[in-house]
Symmetry: C2
Subunit: 212 residues, 2 copies
Amino acid sequence: MATEQTTRRRRDTPRKGDLREQAILRTTEELLERDGVEPMTVEAIAKGAGISRGSLYFYFGSKQEVLTALVARTLDALTRDATVFPDDETTPPHQAIEHAVDRTADMWRRHGPVMRTAVDYAAVIPEIGDLWTATVATFTKVMTGVLVRAGIPEGDGPTEAAALAHTLCWMTERAFYQAASQPVPDLTRAITTCTEIWFRVIGHRSGTSSGG
Amino acid sequence: MATEQTTRRRRDTPRKGDLREQAILRTTEELLERDGVEPMTVEAIAKGAGISRGSLYFYFGSKQEVLTALVARTLDALTRDATVFPDDETTPPHQAIEHAVDRTADMWRRHGPVMRTAVDYAAVIPEIGDLWTATVATFTKVMTGVLVRAGIPEGDGPTEAAALAHTLCWMTERAFYQAASQPVPDLTRAITTCTEIWFRVIGHRSGTSSGG
DNA sequence: CCTCAGATTCTACACAGCGCCGATTTTTTT
DNA sequence: AAAAAAATCGGCGCTGTGTAGAATCTGAGG
C-alpha cells in the first residue's frame, strides 16, 4: 500500500526533463547541507529546483524516493572509490586498510550531510537501509580478503576473518558518523583511531603516535 | 517552539494516575515488540493504556516524550547493570570487558525493540540521541580505565586509551544493533566477535576458537 | 447528603505535510 | 500545423499530531 506507485511515469526516454531530475537531486543535497532534514519539505525541494510541488511527483514517486536516489548515487561513488584497490590481491594488507579508511573518510568529508542523513534514516526508509547494508556488505567482503591475507584464519566462525571484518566495517562507519556529527568534525582523528584498531586486530603495530 | 509545552500539567503529585503513566510505557514497549514503530500511533498507545488519545496528552507532552521516557528507563537499567563491575579497579581487564559486553547483550536480548528504536530515532528525536550519547560516554569513561589497566597508554591522542575505548564502545553498540536487527538474532555470536576484538586491541589472545 | 477543588477524561478543532488527480501548457514528432 | 507526448500546475483529500475547553470523577469538609 505504502510502496505502491500507481502514477509513476517517465522510464528512460532521454528527454529534456533529465536536467530537472539532476536539479532535484542537487537541490536536495544543498538543502541537506544548509538546513538539515526536518525543514527539507517537498515544497522546498521543488522550489529549489524551479518547479512546483506537484511537478516533482512527475519525477519521483515520493519524497523518500528522492532521498533514496541521492543516497544511491553517493554510495555508488563510495564503493567505486574505496574498494577497488583493497580488493587487489597484490595490495599489502596495511595499505589496503589505510586506503579503504582514507577513501571512506573522504566521502564523509565531501558528502557529510548526505552520508549522515543516510544513516539517520536507514531504519525509517527501508530502501536506504538496504543500500547502506549492501554497501557495508561489499566492504566486508573485500576486507575479509584483506584480513585473510594478513594472516587471520579464514572461515565463518565468530572470531575468524569474515566476522571480524564485518564488525570492524560497521565500527568504521560508526566512527565516521560520530566524527562527522560533531560540531567541529575531526575526520583525521577518526582515521587514525580506526586504522590503529584494524592494525591491532591483524597484529601489526603501527608505531605512529600522533599526539593531539 | 517545537519543544514548548504550554499545556503541561501533572508534575509529581503522587495520585492514582501514576498507574496510567506506567501503563502507557508498558503499552508502548508492547506495541514496539509486536508491530514496530511506524504503526505505533498515539491513538494505539492510548487505546492500549485504556484511555483516549486526548487523555494521553495529560501525562506526556508529546509522542516523542513517551518514547524518550521509555528509552531513559531502559538505558538507566543498562548503565546500572553493566558499568559497576568493570569500573572496579581490582577487576582484571579481560573480565571487565567480558562483563560489560555480556550485560549489554543481555539488555538487547530483554529489551531489543526498545534499544533498536532508540538507535533508529536517535537522530530524529534529539532527546533520545542525547540519552544514547550520554550512555555511551559513561561506558567510554569506564572502559578507558580498563584499557589503561591493560597497558594501553593513557591520554587523549587518537591511538591512546580514550580514543580507542570510544571507538570500541560505539563498535559494540553497532554490533549488537546489527545482530538484534537480524531476522534470527544471534547475540552470542556478536558477543564473541566483539570480545575478541577488544582482546586483540589490548594485545591479549583469547585462545577460544569456536567454529560455526 | 451536598459542595467544592483538584485530578482525570473526553470530544472537537486546527494545522502541517504528503500523495494524487484532472486540466492545462509546453515540447517534440510527423 | 496538427497530433502526440512530455512536463507543469493548482487544488483536493487523507493521516496523524497537538491543543482547547467542557464534562466527569474522586475525596475531604460541612
